[in-house]
Amino acid sequence: MGSPLLEVTELRTYFRTDGGLARAVDGVSFHVHQGEVLGIVGESGSGKSVTSLSIMRLIPRPPGEIVAGSSIRLKGEELVDAPEKRMREIRGNDVAMIFQEPMTSLNPVFPVGEQIAETVRLHRRVGKEAARARAIELLGLVGLPDPEERVDTYPHELSGGQRQRVMIAMALSCEPDLLIADEPTTALDVTIQAQILELLAELRRRLGMAIVLITHDLGVVAEVCDRVVVMYAGQVREQGPVEAIFRDPRDPYTQGLLASIPRLGRRMELLTVIPGTVPNPVRWPGGCRFHTRCPHAWELCRREAPPLFRAGTGDVVAQASGAGTSAPTHDVRCWLETHPERRASP
């Protein structure tokens, strides 16, 4: 497959808070290949959004900081210590981002076309007219009806789905290699969600860009992703091809997430939930960070943090996991990998 487009290695992003040092992202490694859709899944507070903002280097500093030793490589170029000027060239041009709230992510006082054209003018150094023409073209590309008229409308005159289309048009304006979509459908109606996902999938096919799709909705992952990274408490719990994760979820946390998807046609008295909430990032639990909520937990889990294992083999995955060039791997951070006999007794 060649070298990956994006390679995140041992990423640590910490925040100084009044309560202490919050280790929001704490040693995360993953990679994205050209044209691939990677899903990052986890509950609120698991570190998904901080990971994506770290890639863009948009972590507010202070209080946040990407800790030394972290590495984020885009096409081989290190971003963690890149000068701010270089980052500005990358943002919106090589890597673009769309956010969860289309209601608040667009500036209310500028016409949507101007907000798109601004990015084009910035990175493509074209004139006002050309940038405007490009904005109209992009609005058409993302399926907004009457783009010639919509180009001059203000965000408040559009619906939520239309605004998210505008956000996508803005993100695509400079044909980025990588699109980071942070919960792009969470704030939308279900029918609109499907349309936006379909749009993203289609644009990926047409433009060949890679997408990092951050979501807490495994249904969304199943629909559009090639591979999945499951995050919990600032770490990767499990990662692998989407079929492998859905067919054979090995980590109790992933199993819990899958079990909590409500299914049509299945009679259930209660929705299955993972008990408890994500712990406080200032004081992650010792040992395995999931042991406080895990139905399988025993003394080993409380005592010692599990490394990442290659699924089904019990082999510990070396540093910079999965960045190799071979077929996609399936890795799990759980002691059950070396103690399979305990799986039976929840």
């Binding site: 060239e89 943002r91 209310p108 006082v109």
Partner: protein, 327 residues
């Protein structure tokens, strides 16, 4: 928009008439007899009575009220008791000086206030932010007449005593040798005379605008669309001065209307302190002389300018915020 403006202007008419009525009755029901001001107490009663008739004070208050109101429609405003000249002439002489003072003060208030507010918000919790916060609170709570006197003492009087160059003039709009100066020096002379009055008038108000802008800016900087702007790769300068500023100016524009009365009442003090030949001085002199027609007309003109300023603020509001549409 045109329709809205027309409705607002029509709506302002009862307001303006109300203000005129209030001014008239408050002044005319106040104790004190103008006729007594302009006559010797030893004069025979008949002479004083004649004087009252001459000033029109012998008529019942409601007749005087309607006469006075009528004089508005002719744009005449009646005659000054003290000077015997038409009030209109007095106003027209004094108005330009006040407008010059208020105009420059308004510009300094908003430009300086907004600039300081932005700077503080961008460098929140820095030493500069702290120093500016303390000093704006200092000026905000300072009476402008005292500030004016202190500035005059320092930059005019002491400056001169210490032998420093460019001591600023403390009184009037122009120097005594104004008529003999070249055009360029005339401008310079006028500018020099503006410095202290404008500073006095604007520092107090700019401090308020700075505090308000800082708060608004901090609020806006946290918004999602600012993160979007940064994610596009825009330089921080554009993010702040284009995307954040426009949004944080929306509530500040509302202050424009609220600040006009403060500006005019401030101008009254400043004009007296700096012998600025404007409406503020006219009104103070007129009050001391019980020159009711002049007091009423000046107060009314201030009220009119405030109403007009609020109208401008509403229009600016719609210009800045596309979500506001007056239909």
């Amino acid at each position: 928009m045109g329709n809205y403006l027309l409705r607002r202007i029509l709506g302002a008419i009862p307001l303006v008439v109300g203000v005129a009525t209030l001014i008239f009755f408050v002044l005319n029901l106040a104790p004190g007899d103008p006729a007594a001001m302009y006559s010797n107490p030893n004069l025979p009663v008949a002479v004083i009575e004649q004087l009252r008739r001459n000033l029109g004070l012998d008529q019942p208050i409601y007749i005087r009220y309607f006469k006075w109101l009528g004089s508005f429609f002719t744009g005449h405003f009646g005659y000054s008791f003290a000077q015997g000249r038409p009030v209109l002439d007095i106003l027209l002489e004094a108005l330009p000086a006040t407008l010059i003072l208020a105009f420059w003060a308004l510009i300094v208030v908003f430009v300086l206030g907004v600039a300081i507010g932005i700077y503080q918000a961008v460098r929140q919790y820095s030493v500069a932010d702290g120093v500016l916060s303390v000093s704006s609170l200092f000026f905000y709570s300072m009476p402008s007449f005292w500030l004016g006197l202190m500035l005059m003492l320092l930059f005019s009087l002491k400056w001169h005593e210490w032998g420093l160059p460019f001591a600023l003039p403390a009184t009037g709009m122009t120097g005594v040798d104004y008529d003999y100066l070249s055009f360029g020096h005339k401008l310079l002379d006028r500018a020099a005379h503006l410095v202290l009055p404008v500073t006095t008038l604007s520092l107090v108000l700019a401090a308020g605008i700075a505090r308000y802008t800082r708060g608004q800016m901090l609020e806006v900087i946290r918004q999602d669309y600012i993160r979007t702007a940064r994610a596009k790769g825009l330089p921080e300068r554009t993010v702040i001065l284009k995307h954040a500023l426009r949004n944080s100016m929306i509530p500040v524009i509302t202050l424009f209307g609220l600040y006009l009365p403060l500006l005019f009442s401030g101008a009254v003090f400043v004009e007296v302190i700096f012998s600025w030949p404007g409406m503020g001085r006219v009104i103070v002199d007129a009050i001391l002389q019980r020159d009711y027609p002049v007091v009423m007309a000046t107060s009314f003109l201030f009220a009119l300018m405030t109403v007009f300023g609020n109208l401008i603020a509403d229009v600016l509001y719609a210009v800045a915020d596309p979500r506001i549409r007056y239909d």
